[in-house]
Symmetry: C2
Subunit: 143 residues, 2 copies
């Protein structure tokens, strides 16, 4: 099962893990990208994400398909939050279950690397002095 | 901060993630080892883990220390459940936060590989026909 979602709500990692859990699996690997309080020496107040949703979901689904081509995994969740994402909260979650650990660990690493490179999501970094800058996802090296 | 725990309770991954979260981090990576319903063609009913706790915690702390020698990470949680662990529930959780994603992803993979190899925890596989076998952690290839 693939879960591909874009949401404006807090990502509930406990709930997402439960949805990906399978009785045939011995492993669940997860990556969360969280808002950090600093970027290149500047204090960050919050992040704001925007997406062209149909295209973003299409690219996220492609990542799931590619994972299934490469590894034997059971369930995959790719969730991206948009709108304001305050410090310490997650903007992106990737959760993968697999019978054996190697597959889900590798799939999660591939998933976040590819999501950063291909999914059209823009990020506004808002600094403590209320200045800001917009960046494409692929330019964001904070995670 | 290092969290090193052995517990007989259900591992609450939402709570553990919150404890590892840091405002200075953009990444949280997690591995969960869960009880699978089959092993080498046999149907598994449940798993039962036992540990020599002082030694197991010492080895788990060593894994945290080694992670800190190798990668720049913020918080590490290594939690192993003992006693009965029913199908789909987690026996082990490794959660690592880091400023950038590469570090926590690599640290989690190292953590589970090393835990399987070095931590003295034994596992009783109880099959559907009520037969069972005891194994050392390092012999368990189910995850």
């Amino acid at each position: 099962m693939d879960i591909v979602e874009i949401t404006r709500e807090i990502i509930d990692i406990g709930n997402l893990t439960t949805r990906v859990t399978s009785p045939t699996c011995g492993a669940i690997s997860t990556f969360l990208g969280t808002t950090r309080n600093n970027f290149q020496g500047k204090k960050v107040k919050t992040l704001e994400y925007e997406a062209y949703e149909p295209m973003a979901k299409k690219e996220m689904q492609k990542i799931c398909d590619n994972i299934r081509d490469k590894w034997s995994v059971e369930n995959i969740a790719l969730v991206h939050r948009i709108g304001d994402v305050p410090i310490t909260q997650a903007s992106v979650a990737i959760v993968v279950s697999s019978p054996h650990r190697k597959e889900s660990l590798e799939a999660v690493q591939y998933g976040i690397d590819t999501l950063k490179a291909t999914v059209p999501i823009w990020k506004k970094e808002i600094y403590e002095d209320d200045s800001y800058s917009w960046k494409e996802n692929s330019e964001c090296c904070e995670i």
